[in-house]
Amino acid sequence: MVASGTGTQLAIGCEDGSVKIFQVVPGGIQFERNLDRRKGRVLCLSWHRSGTHIVAGSIDFFRVIDVASGQTVQRIMVNHQVEKAKRECVVWAIALLSSGTVVSADSFGRVQFWDWEQGTLAESHTVSTSAALSLAVSEKEDSIVVGTSTGATYQLQLLPVKLGGLEKCWVRTKPFQFHSHDVRAVAHSSTALISGGLDAQLVIRPLMEKVQKKGYDAVLRKFTFPHRRLVSCARKARLLLFQFSQYLELWRLGSTEETGKDGEVLPPCRMPEHLVQLKSKGPEHIYCSCVSPCGTWVGYSTASRFQLYRVRCDGDGVSLRKVPKVPKLLPPAYQLQFSADSESLFVASARGSVHVFQLLEPGGCKHLHTLQPPSGCSEAVYLLAPSADGHWLAAVSGDWAIHIYNLKCFQHHCVVPAYSCAVSALAIHPSTNNLVIAYSDQQLFEFSIPEKQYTSWSRAVQSRGLHRTWLERDSPITHITFNPKNPAHILLHDTYLLCILDKSLPLPDDSTLLMNQSTLKQLPETARKRQLHAFKICKKFQPLLFMDLLDENCLVVVERPIMDFKTQLPLAVQQKKFGT
């Protein structure tokens, strides 16, 4: 399925060999017509930039279809010259360049350049011994990225044959091997090659020659987990809700009564308990989920539906009951958040709006109010943070603006000054009502909601600058929480570390070691005092999905070992490695 360059039309290739054109209308799509149907399943499609032609790749051939007439104007066999013609050649990816050149990536590992009008092969590059699966062309059409089934991606560049000359040819330049399995999707941004594979990794490889300054963009990024909170915690009920793509799991935490020293593993007196698994209906993925702090409400949302459940724990048994007559939301929720007293639910929605539902015993809900930014907003809200006293709500929309609402009077309170980066996490301090914001460029801000301005600590951090090691970290902060016992403590975590930020301690400068916990342990008490700084970092748990403070002396940490899902992956393509 590919949209045309203007975004007004959608072409869909079908198994039966037909290509269907849909008109994109506000709020949906409308079938327009069928294009010329030929035998052979359509595996890939590409529009010409002008929208006049579509090229459709099939097994052993691809064809060029004129959109206006709907007729196939050219049909080219791709394995014409290959000796081993018995094997079928699958065209996995195709691109139609504005110059009229068709680029095909096939199962023989070739990237071929065709002049479709003449029906001739211009260039052929065998990039891999296994199949080439995906293809993406840069905006300028001078660079192509190809993903293969061995997990390698290759860049092809259109380079002048002679320096300063007009004649150009495609040259395979940079190979990257960051995936272990099929690279199913690739994208070409102006400064980076992006690839996603079957090994559940997203890799962003910057093109150093295009990156203007050294910064976040200039470093290779690998993502295994989404930068979203996938786990929610009912603090009081000690429940954890895990969000999977098709289902939710509710667990009761185990506990121990023993105490021990640092590093010891204590025997649990009560084992963690899998309470219930809640499968979502239909093929849709779960977009967001939440469990209320009291543990009695569970809500989730897919792309089309929003569901709310009432959890009843009677003794050992747990029952889930769907809350009837949940107000229909269109589109459904982008983020769900229960208030601290579990009496209301905040639903982040499109156009910057936040719906407030009142939760009713014994199992009902009522739409209370819709909060909206006064100036209006086209982007959806994706992060919510209610205050513990139920007075405030902070909402972040896709345009990165943070709006703060007063929940007592359902009014817009203020906007946090705009910052040029996406917000990755935010939370309101339970006692001071300071909003702590973590941005994707690893900057930290503290904004006082009552005073509508940044706090002096935040100003001090900004003037001083954060430690370089902190700023060069790979993954953004995904969750912020606070220590009720010590208001100066802010607890943060990303995929690789959890950090206790102690505002009472001095900030580290670049000359000191950021991760100094292990060295501190070896120092005597007096020397330790001098070495202390605000960032207390623990890297023991990796990769870290979730961390929350249950009560004053209990912290829950959810770790998802990479090997857990690596072992579930299918076997990688066998490759002979030298020296093995």
Partner: protein, 834 residues
Amino acid sequence: RPATENIRILTESSYFLGKDKSKFLYLLCASGDFVKVYSVNTEETLRLMGGHADLVTGIQLNPHNHMQLYSSSLDGTIKLWDFMDGIPIKVSSLGFYLHLHFYPLSGPHSSVLLLVSDRFFFLWSDTFQLVSVKLTKGAGQDLESKELSVVLDGVGASVKHIAFGREGAYVVSVKDVTLQVYFFKRKLLNRFSLSTVKTKGGDNRFSCVVCHPTEDCIATGHADGKIRLWRNFHHRKEYTYSTLHWHHDIVMDLAFSVEGTRLLSGGVESVLVQWHNESSCQKDFLPRLGSPIEYISMSSDGALCCTLHTDNRITIINSNLRFSRSIQGLIKSRDVKTGLVVDPRTKALVLNGEPGHLQFYSLQSDQQLFSLDIVQRQYIHQAGLKQSDLVKVAFSAQGTWLATVEESEEVTDPELQLKLWFYSEETQSFTLNTRINTPHDNHITDMCFRDMDELGDDSLILVTTGRDCVFKVWVMVEDTDPEGKSAHESVSWSCDFVGSYHNYQATNCCFSEDGSLLAVSFEETVTVWDSLTWDLKCTFCHPPGNIRNICFGRLTCSKYLIGATDYGFLCCWNLLTCALEWSAHLNIVVLQPDPLSEHIAAVSWLSKESSLFVFKPNEPRPLYIQRNLCKEKILLAAFVPRDEPETISSEKYLWLRKSQLFFLTDTQELMTLSTKSLEERLTPSSKQLAVEESLPVTPFSLLLGKHRHQQAQEDTDLGKPVVHNKQEQASPAVKELLHTPAHVLPSASFLCTIFINSLLISKENKSAEEVADEVEMESEKADGDSDEEDVTVMEQEDTSPMELLGEMTCKLSKSQEKELRKIRKMDYSWIAAF
């Protein structure tokens, strides 16, 4: 002064194939101080172009005339040669340059050369510059070129580190991890650096660079075996490269095909890899080339390519990557452990060749006769792997038996094998007769056969000495079950006697000429044993210091035993009196007796120079001394018997009459002492070859050849230096006759007289006396030299060295000189009579 002939190993050389219009392919190769011209079709050396005083560092065809060749040398000169005739056309001296490679640029930069040099003598900092030099147009012998300009700084010294781009538009230089591109027209210098960090076995240092012939693409080889193809390198930022990776170790050289569609690469794997269309998926291999590839070169028409290997071999390969032929001189092995041994049968020099092989090298033709696989195991090119190698070799007197010792490189526990090979007349090669595992418990230090020509096979005895403090005597025994076996298969070798002396390590062994005595050295002591009863006859020692070498005197001097010790003493013991006859204080490293005469050659190593002493054991005075033979340490020497005794005019070289002396230095250069000067040796051969080549093989040419041969024979019979001017007079007429097309030739009657005249032996222009005089003059000079040297060298019981020195420095009057000459003349006639 005698000229020392260097047959250098091709370690630092570049070469390429040139093609002339007559479809005759030449391969040009810089070899030591010479440029060699090989015929690709016949693999023969056509010409040897000498004249450089030091190592030739680069050769390049003249882009304006493909029959001309530029060569550069460490002596600071550039020569332009006509390589068809081997004549230097132009010599440009650049005085202060020490190290040069150069590239003549074509196109707009006509007659501009680019050189790599260390112009300011920054020897210690190894900074080399790329300099352009404008050569003067005129032809002449010694032209000074002063128009210099520096193009690039800090370039690599090797010829592989610099390449010229398409049509000479830019020059590329690599060094360490930096690539520099200089565009001549735009005067733009781009510098690209790779990371120096060695991750996951990666090593980004550059090893070589070549440029695509038609496109703007640079191919670089790297130390970790990667090949990078650079493009868009006129952009400082948006340059890009792709990587090809097959080699597991350093890429030694790269070459593009003429069209640029194929790229050849080679390295230590001894595999030539051909990459198609710069794609890493399409590649072909030519494996098992024998030894690491050092250089790769394409012929100008693209039909052939050749690889130069580290063991001094050139392999010529077809364009379809099929092995075509190889040009093989002396194979350079990693370490010559066997010593220089002469095969009595073929008179070939025998030493370590390929790993585990024994090479038979013909000195006359500078070719390998054959290679005998001794170890018979696959050699794996991998650093740190302990593999078996051949360490000792010995031939019996007739060359019918060959004994070899191989050991693994383990120091503590060498796996030893002694193998005895018999020469089979049918197969014309050696066949394995006996294999003895662990003949000694420790390294074998020496091995020799009892050389007795007259007694036949039954008296054949092999003695081995080992560090396990014993020497062992091996004899042939008849097999008890000789069924269905030929005479030589029915024998095998077994140990007959084990001797030891005070539990000292046995280091050397040697039989006397008649085979009755065996001398074995045990650390400080030489023991002499009766070879019949194996009784210890007597012992000699010259403390302090272990015995390094021993040998018996020969012929008239067979009663002497010579030994050299660690502490720098050369001793001669009389076996009849069992007493020290004489000794001299010399640090002898090589002691080599001539098998055909009484002479013994000793090479000393002192203060970074090797000196040669030739002496007879019965005289403590050396016959011949050559100080400062070469700067390298001479490790081995061998006397090779001449096919026929050479006529030697000067008394000084009489000891070279029957055999020729060869040396091998620690850099594996094979050298010999020649009695003729360099020019004498070079010119006749090259001229002869030129004429012979142009002659078609007809009955007439055969007649002509015969005629010439006779002439040469006469010359040699006269016992005088060969006078070649007769031939030279004759050849133009003959040449003219043969080269002019038939339809433009004058009538046969006209030509007849000229032709007949050319065949007649013209009378000598010079009178016999004059010629004799000239010879005398030479010999006198030579004598004077040798006297002088004698004086400075002798430290033995010489009587009047100091006075002699004084005499030689004062000048003689003309009359005195004449008188002296006359006396000398008389002396000579005396010697000649004997």
